[in-house]
């Protein structure tokens, strides 16, 4: 067993998550804010009597787009970094003969698919002006349910892959586990109710760009986290990494 304390990796995971949140903020600010503004302009032009943000909004648009967005993305990054570090603690040395850096990338890639991509493809993000405020409880419940389901199915696929690996080898076992995961996700997609509350006259291009911005933000978070955490984790897990690397450069 590895003598390292999970605390050491957790602290580094949250640090890497903070960095990932910062990168996410930059991407969200550059790619996303113009889409949010465009959607709010449509919302206000469409129905001036609507109650959202009309009467003395408690937070101005300028604050929402900077400090508010920054708080959201940084806290989101720290929280996901902590969770990913815990998953890494479990995955290290258990998913094959991978070193800390490769394990970190596999974990962050897996969490991107399980926590963001799979739920997103069923319940994609929506800009302001899309979505009926009266259905927010139902939409939030379904979204959280989809994330939980996706996480459970990913864990099940991982267990299946590990069971099959001794007989079939890692490559074939991974393919079979992935196919099983896709099939299970397809069944989940088919059984859960769909949500489409996009107004008929809302520009399709704006929805598309907004959703691409969401994917770009999520991809930024997990790429940054995976790379940064891999370096930080390797430093504490293999302090002798530097001399070994010079003795035996990659074969």
């Amino acid at each position: 067993m590895n003598p390292i304390s999970p605390r050491v990796l957790l602290v580094r995971g949250m640090l890497a998550g903070l960095l990932a949140g910062l990168a996410a903020f930059l991407v969200a600010y550059v790619l996303g804010e113009s889409k949010v503004d465009a959607a709010i302009a449509i919302e206000e032009a469409g129905h001036a009597a609507h109650d959202h943000g009309e009467e003395a909004a408690p937070v101005s648009r300028a604050l929402q787009a900077t400090a508010g967005l920054g708080t959201g993305t940084l806290l989101y990054g720290i929280a996901l970094g902590g969770i990913a570090a815990l998953v890494f603690c479990y995955a290290l040395g258990r998913i094959g003969r991978f070193g800390p850096r490769v394990t970190a990338l596999l974990v962050s890639g897996g969490l991107f698919v399980a926590l963001n991509l799979v739920p997103f493809l069923k319940y994609p993000s929506n800009p302001p002006a899309v979505g009926d405020p009266d259905t927010v409880v139902r939409r939030t419940t379904l979204y959280v349910l989809m994330i939980a389901l996706s996480a459970l199915l990913s864990a099940a696929a991982l267990i299946l892959g590990r069971r099959l690996a001794p007989k079939l080898g890692n490559w074939n076992a991974s393919i079979i586990a992935s196919v099983a995961f896709v099939a299970a996700v397809a069944i989940a997609y088919a059984s859960l109710p769909g949500i489409n509350e996009v107004p008929a006259d809302f520009p399709a291009a704006l929805i598309w760009q907004f959703r691409l911005a969401t994917l770009a933000i999520q991809a930024t978070i997990w790429t940054t986290f995976g790379l940064a955490f891999g370096v930080l984790a390797e430093r504490v897990l293999t302090p002798a990494a530097a001399p070994r690397a010079t003795a035996q450069p990659a074969s």
Binding site: M1, V59, L75, G82, L86
Partner: protein, 70 residues
């Protein structure tokens, strides 16, 4: 054997024992989920605090990170 990227001569990294990990996983896991709830859903679907300041403050982040907002 069919493992791919890593040569078989690479030293295996020892796993961390589950009993050492469990208390951290439970405590920090719950803490991180509370944090995600505050960013993603507080004063949206449900509310612990009155008003809508948290909702409005997190507004852009919620939309762009993919949470249902309003």
């Amino acid at each position: 054997m069919a493992h791919s990227a890593v040569p078989t001569t690479a030293p295996a990294v020892a796993p961390i024992s589950l009993s050492a990990l469990a208390p951290w996983a439970v405590f920090v896991g719950v803490l991180m989920l509370v944090l995600l709830y505050l960013v993603g859903a507080e004063q949206g679907a449900t509310a612990l605090f009155e008003g809508d300041t948290v909702h409005e403050w997190m507004h852009d982040g919620r939309h762009l990170l993919g949470f249902p907002c309003h």
